[in-house]
């Protein structure tokens, strides 16, 4: 079978991070099949050298704006292990809740902003505002809840501020946590629709 294919996708869209795809097939023979990562390197491992332990999580969180809570928590865990710090059960629970906020946020981002346009036959979420307005509004509502949820515990979702080695610089009040719980429960119908 003779087949000739030439694919050159530069700057893949609707993904976090940068990627190119290049495929070259001549007469059924693959000449080139490459997944290129044109992401500019930043050398975080070199950046954290010599920094004070209280600064490291704040630096490594900047590795990624989408999973900065994960990077913060991983760094805090490493710092605490190095210093022999044991966190309290309360800190552990709040950190878990903070990570769940990020996972929720990331799933909403993926399902609605990155993947949904493919299922609904649009190139992005923006034309969907006109054709599938309720879906977009739901997406934005859920994204906002994730943002408020993470921000209540972490200070903010993109590059958390309040989580520090040993625990938290400040804690949410019971009232704030109860209000968050009510918001989460109110979001259940939106999640069922999802």
């Amino acid at each position: 079978m003779s087949k000739t294919i030439s694919i050159a996708v530069h700057h893949l869209t609707r993904v976090e991070g940068h990627g190119n795809i290049e495929v070259d097939v001549k007469n059924g023979k693959i000449l080139k099949c490459e997944w290129q990562v044109p992401e500019a390197p930043r050398f975080f491992e070199a950046m954290v050298r010599g920094r004070h332990y209280s600064e490291v999580a704040r630096i490594t969180s900047r590795i990624c704006g989408i999973c900065s809570i994960g990077h913060t928590l991983a760094s805090l865990k490493a710092t605490e292990a190095a210093l022999g710090i044991q966190v309290t059960p309360q800190t552990f629970k709040l950190r878990e809740l903070m990570k769940h906020a990020e996972n929720f946020d990331s799933h909403v981002l993926h399902v609605y902003f990155l993947a949904a346009p493919d299922f609904l036959g649009a190139p992005s979420v923006f034309p969907l505002v006109a054709t599938h307005g309720t879906v977009v509004a739901r997406a934005l509502r859920l994204k906002r809840i994730a943002h408020e949820w993470g921000s209540l515990i972490a200070g903010r979702t993109t590059h958390p501020t309040k989580a520090v080695p040993g625990g938290f610089a400040s804690l949410p009040t019971v009232k704030e946590l109860v209000e968050l719980k009510e918001k989460m429960l109110a979001a259940v119908p939106d999640l069922e629709e999802t």
């Binding site: 900065s68 994204k143 943002h147 200070g155 501020t161």
Partner: protein, 250 residues
């Protein structure tokens, strides 16, 4: 009147400022779309354009010569260029490696000369192209971004604070970090965030960069004398988000 065409581009960064754009919630986001047309946004859109655009939001630093043509191409077709976030404005955290030369070798060892590790002294995008406005912050303050867009839509000059974070702490009556035995960079850090960190019990790390012409010598002195920071740390402190705004930035 046609809606202004707005586009987002990313360079050397974590893409968190773009993510902030999705965190407004439905009323604000949908209202914003009544006033602007988003025509390109790689992280969220497959659509691409080669047409002229009214406002280009550029996220990320200028960290390799190979990116210059793309920056110039965006500049050429954009009426207004906004440096979107600290990486684009002053290189922010990315500049933390600028005072070192062994970073490639340190991280990648014998593979440090791989072509995709290309990197130079990391700079704000205004070192490659002309920038009209700056949305500072790591990440951006999304409400300040709304203010900038709103001002531009009304034909006004956006107002970006050029006073220190201390002003905002005083306004919200936050107890000074120095008075509780901590350190803080608020005295030279650019305000505009509303000073949430000191009120949450943590020092300002100047993630929005410094004000214009910061008195860095005085900052080091205060860090050492009032916060009792060891000399080396006090001198090194501002490399975190403001390495390119220090007197020793080459």
């Amino acid at each position: 009147m046609a809606k202004p065409k707005v586009a987002f581009f990313d360079f050397t960064c974590c893409e968190g400022c773009q993510i902030e754009f999705t965190n407004y919630g439905d009323p604000v986001f949908l209202e914003l779309l009544n006033h602007v047309d988003v025509v390109e946004f790689r992280e969220a859109m497959s659509e691409k354009t080669t047409e002229p655009i009214d406002v280009a939001f550029i996220e990320g630093s200028f960290s390799r010569e190979a990116d210059r043509p793309r920056l110039e191409e965006i500049r050429k077709r954009a009426k207004i260029v906004i440096a979107y976030g600290q990486c684009a404005s002053t290189a922010g955290i990315n500049a933390l490696k600028n005072h070192t030369t062994d970073y490639k070798k340190f991280v990648y060892g014998k593979d440090s000369e791989m072509p995709h590790l290309d990197s130079q002294k990391v700079l704000g995008i205004d070192q490659a192209i002309k920038v009209d406005y700056y949305a500072y912050g790591c990440p951006v303050n999304k409400y300040e971004v709304l203010q900038i867009v709103s001002h531009l839509l009304h034909g006004k000059e956006p107002v970006i604070p050029n006073y220190p974070v201390c002003v905002e702490c005083k306004r919200r009556e936050t107890i000074c970090r120095y008075d509780v035995g901590d350190y803080c960079l608020g005295q030279t850090a650019r305000a505009g965030c509303g000073a949430p960190c000191p009120s949450d019990g943590i020092p300002c790390e100047a993630c929005r960069g410094f004000v214009d012409q910061p008195n860095h010598d005085a900052l080091v002195k205060v860090l050492a004398k009032r916060a009792g920071m060891p000399k080396g740390w006090a001198e090194d402190k501002s490399r975190m988000f403001t390495a390119n705004q220090r007197g020793d930035a080459k």
